[in-house]
């Protein structure tokens, strides 16, 4: 009964997300149109930043009065005035004048919030229907996991203008929810004894949270790679190709954001791995046995460790490390979508 309401709310949430996705996409296409109009006259914010990022002596226009010659270092991590993601940035926000241009963007955000509320209701109802945490089988993991992805995205948007990721995030959430309602949907059943543990609450919750952060980092890395490609083009080609990215922060700034989100995910994943080992010790009599799910948890951990190292290795920061973040996220999706369903192992809790 409650479970049916939960499903109803979930379908409504999906409908709302779908409209949000359309709104975000409209916004992106409007961005590219808007940029084209100005491209001839104004050097885009992203370009200015890209130019300022190189190690070179620049005499910035603003600094002119003081007559100081400043040295811009490529590895200056503090948000400087040219950090386009900072709220006071000049880069990201300028192309979108308030008023009609921002409408679809705001509609997208508002619908995302509405969808999130419906989604939350669906999740809570499922938990009440099952009289336990709503993450004990794949259908429930997907429902809670996508909820967390949306939640992290919405919280991140409060802190930084990451709304340009709206289409990627709502699109991904829609696909995941679609697959799980069609493929993984199961009725409420009692927990098997091996899952009756407070570690179910801790271990799985943290794993879902980590996945949420990895998702955001993945989306940023994808945009970063596209942006880096655009920045690599000559300025005339830039005006035509990948136009919509002109209103998006520079690849370096995206890279830094992706990293900061990823390290939160990484530390949560480290905890997931350890909590899983402790639970395995309680339930199966050994803390590590290279069970398929354990193998993949380890593989993901090592890939993200490599990603963090790559970022600290000369010649690897930037596009190379972004690819590692994407590979790491593919492993996360594989671990969830493929290992759970098709691989044999002790973690037979997909409920399918």
């Amino acid at each position: 009964m409650l479970d049916q309401y939960s499903t109803l709310f979930l379908y409504s949430a999906m409908g709302v997300y779908a409209i949000a996705f359309i709104a975000f996409t409209l916004d992106l296409s409007r961005r590219s149109a808007g940029v084209t109009a100005r491209a001839a006259t104004v050097q885009s914010g992203a370009e200015r930043i890209a130019a300022a990022r190189g190690t070179r002596v620049t005499r910035s226009a603003a600094a002119g009065s003081a007559g100081t010659t400043t040295l811009e270092r490529p590895e200056s991590y503090g948000p400087s005035s040219s950090d386009p993601i900072a709220p006071d940035s000049a880069g990201a926000s300028t192309p979108l004048r308030p008023g009609k241009e921002g409408v679809s963007l705001r509609v997208g955000v508002a619908l995302s919030i509405l969808g999130f509320v419906l989604h939350l209701a669906a999740d809570v109802l499922r938990g009440i229907a099952a009289a336990r945490v709503p993450w004990a089988n794949m259908y429930e993991f997907s429902m809670t996991g996508t909820l967390i992805i949306m939640g992290i995205f919405l919280v991140a948007v409060i802190r930084k203008d990451l709304r340009f990721l709206g289409a990627v995030i709502t699109g991904l959430v829609l696909i995941l929810l679609g697959i799980s309602t069609v493929g993984f949907r199961v009725d409420v059943v009692p927990l098997p004894p091996a899952l009756q543990s407070y570690w179910l609450v801790i271990h799985v919750m943290v794993a879902i949270l980590a996945t949420g952060f990895f998702t955001l980092s993945f989306a940023l890395s994808v945009v970063q790679l596209l942006q880096a490609r655009r920045e690599g083009l000559g300025s005339s080609a830039r005006a035509v190709k990948l136009r919509l990215l002109a209103s998006v922060p520079a690849s370096e700034s995206l890279e830094r954001s992706a990293y900061r989100v990823a390290i939160v995910g990484f530390i949560l994943w480290t905890f997931t791995l350890m909590a899983g080992a402790i639970w395995a010790e309680h339930a199966w009599g050994r803390y590590w046995g290279w069970d398929t799910k354990e193998v993949w948890t380890f593989v993901i951990w090592v890939i993200y460790a490599a990603y963090i190292h790559a970022r600290a290795t000369r010649g690897w920061r930037g596009s190379h490390s972004a690819w590692l973040a994407i590979i790491g996220y593919s492993a996360v999706l594989f671990n969830f979508g493929v290992v759970n369903v098709f691989f044999k192992g002790l973690h037979a809790y997909s409920g399918l």
């Binding site: 002596v57 603003a62 400087s80 098997p192 199966w284 050994r286 069970d291 290795t313």
Partner: protein, 602 residues
């Protein structure tokens, strides 16, 4: 005090490490009177982070062999090196960031095959099944240790190299960090414009000492380490970042070592215990047993454990899950070695029992019918509980009884147990619920040679029927004998009788002794703590420079420098500037670098 001279050209423009350049100092030397450039550069070097030379924060150093691993093409200069040079070159390669990165990626890739192919360690039955299904592929995979990936030569080589690289990387950094923790923050750079978040303020008052003292107070309250150089302060915080990084990497080594030691001193074994029976912890008491290299027979402490009862509850109401197990509780009586004292304990699936340093887990359960077989004269030739292996969720189970002696022929029996019997549309029997609501045991009886006399060990769970003849059962001369608890039926050919006395439950217990488990946990906690510190504690420097203006005002500069990822550096400089001006009774005027000194910001 003389106004500051800018001394243009004295710091190297274009260097990407301005703070390591020998920046000229401001005003007179520090209170310790250390003025020699050499001592200063030593101190500044100590304040730097020690990093492999291909780390993004390392200066590109083109001089001599040091640059050998800065890029691939440098290998060309390698032939000039002597043997020692070669060794140093190889060591630097091994301990470089790039090597660590590649080894990590190799490790990730190397771990994958173990999830695609069954492993002997975790799934031995899967391996034998694989042999049946892919007889051609099996020897090839086996030759490359594909069924023992995690103990294979190649997997071991990768992680050992990685850990050697790690130790080679972490040891010098630890030494260096130890020195850095006791060194002073380096001198204030001559020109703060080159640092980050520069802010200029003009403050009322003209007491330079007071301004510096206030700056020191603010910085110290934020737990910066502060040194005064002339009319400037140099401060640094966040040493914990590097400490955390070293603890993180070091504890990874700790985990590896603890796991290796645990593997040598630990043991684990498995034993099926029927309710009412006991198990004694000695090697002969196990059905299967594996031990580390350094475990002797006396390592085991011979406690006794009696399985009094195994309670299982099944779902009865939820239509989607009828018969799903809800709880297993084993009640046991433990008797410590050399003691007559006993204590009653419980074991559940997520709640192992800790006895005498070992952990006892409840891993499986099933039914063990108690059977008695008599010859035609009524003499008992077999009596005991026979554990049956569950075949499905409704606990339809099969078991084997072998009677080599006492009857006119050797007899082998395959028993099929239906805890709650039901007849399918096809007429076949099945079990509809895992509890013993309406149990039925059917027997297929074979006679002939059981093959037990050849001395080859045979599994008690398998009956080799090649030399046997089916006497009773499906497609046999006589129908399969059927038994309910308490019943006695005749065996075919007047061999004798069989009685089903009762149907008990058995528990499959796993006993583990891992003496380093607590160490592994302790290192794991250190890994996590170290990681958190290393990723989230910002390491940064802040500077404050005071100059007495011509009109009786103080002009103050604030700036900072991030050492590694530090998203809040700009905020930190801002806050420092605000609190400092507050301490001095408010700013007369504020300005941001480059904005001109009169234009207020924010």
């Amino acid at each position: 005090m003389s106004p500051r001279s800018d001394r243009p050209g004295s710091d190297r423009p274009g260097s990407d490490r301005p703070e390591s350049g020998r920046a000229p100092i401001d005003g007179p030397a520090g209170p310790d009177g250390e003025t020699s450039d050499d001592a200063q550069s030593k101190r500044d070097a100590a304040a730097e982070l020690h990093r492999p030379s291909d780390h993004v924060d390392s200066a590109v150093d083109d001089s001599g062999a040091d640059g050998a691993d800065a890029g691939g093409t440098d290998g060309i200069s390698a032939p000039k090196l002597g043997p020692i040079g070669w060794l140093r070159f190889a060591w630097r390669q091994l301990t470089s960031m790039r090597t660590a990165l590649f080894l990590l990626l190799f490790l990730a890739i190397a771990a994958v095959p173990g999830s695609l192919v069954p492993q002997r360690s975790s799934d031995p039955n899967g391996v034998s099944q694989y042999l049946d299904e892919h007889p051609d592929l099996f020897p090839i995979i086996d030759a490359v240790q594909g069924f023992d990936v995690y103990s294979s030569v190649w997997f071991t080589a990768i992680y050992l190299l990685l850990f050697i690289s790690l130790i080679g990387c972490v040891l010098p950094r630890t030494k260096h960090h130890w020195q850095a923790m006791r060194a002073k923050p380096p001198r204030t750079p001559a020109r703060l414009e080159r640092m980050q978040g520069l802010r200029r303020r003009t403050l009322a008052g003209d007491d330079v000492e007071q301004a510096l003292a206030a700056g020191e107070r603010v910085l110290k309250s934020k737990r910066y380490r502060v040194v005064r150089y002339g009319d400037s302060l140099s401060a640094e915080r966040g040493y914990l970042r590097e400490t955390g990084n070293l603890i993180f990497h070091g504890s990874l080594v700790g985990i590896l070592v603890a796991v290796a030691i645990g593997g040598s001193f630990g043991y684990n074994g498995n034993r099926v215990v029927v309710t009412g029976e006991s198990f004694v912890n000695y090697i002969g008491g196990y059905d299967s047993f594996t031990r580390g290299r350094l475990v002797t027979d006396d390592t085991l402490s011979p406690y006794r454990l009696r399985l009094d009862d195994l309670q299982v509850t099944y779902e009865q109401d939820n239509a989607n899950a009828i018969g799903a197990p809800l709880d297993y509780t084993a009640s046991v009586t433990v008797q410590e070695p050399n003691s007559t004292q006993t204590s009653k304990k419980q074991i559940k699936v997520n709640e192992p029992l800790r006895v005498n340093g070992t952990n006892v887990y409840l891993l499986g359960n099933g039914y063990a019918p108690h059977l008695t077989i008599r010859d035609p004269d009524g003499t008992v030739v077999f009596s005991g509980s026979v554990p049956f292996l569950p075949q499905n969720a409704q606990l339809f189970s099969t078991g084997i009884i072998k009677v080599p002696d006492g009857l006119s022929e050797q007899v082998g029996i395959i028993g099929l147990l239906y805890p709650t019997k039901t007849t399918l549309d096809s007429g076949a029997l099945a079990s509809s619920f895992p509890d013993l609501d309406d149990p039925l045991l059917t027997l297929s009886v074979y006679t002939g040679d059981l093959g037990l006399d050849q001395g080859i060990p045979k599994s008690v769970y398998q009956l080799d029927t090649t030399d046997l003849t089916l006497q009773a059962g499906r497609n046999a001369p006589e129908p399969a004998p059927e038994l309910t608890p308490g019943a006695t039926v005749d065996l075919p050919n007047g061999l004798g009788t069989v009685t089903l006395d009762s149907i008990d439950r058995f528990a499959s217990l796993e006993i583990h002794d891992d003496p380093t488990q607590a160490w592994v946990l302790a290192f794991a906690i250190l890994v996590l703590a170290g990681l958190a510190a290393s990723l989230f504690v910002p390491r940064r420097r802040l500077w404050l420079k005071v100059r007495r203006g011509s009109d009786g005002e103080l002009s103050v500069e604030y700036a900072g420098l991030a050492r590694g990822d530090d998203p809040r550096l700009d905020e930190a400089v801002q806050e420092f500037a605000d609190r400092h001006s507050e301490q001095l009774g408010g700013a007369a005027q504020t300005g941001r670098a480059g904005d001109g000194e009169t234009k207020p910001i924010r």
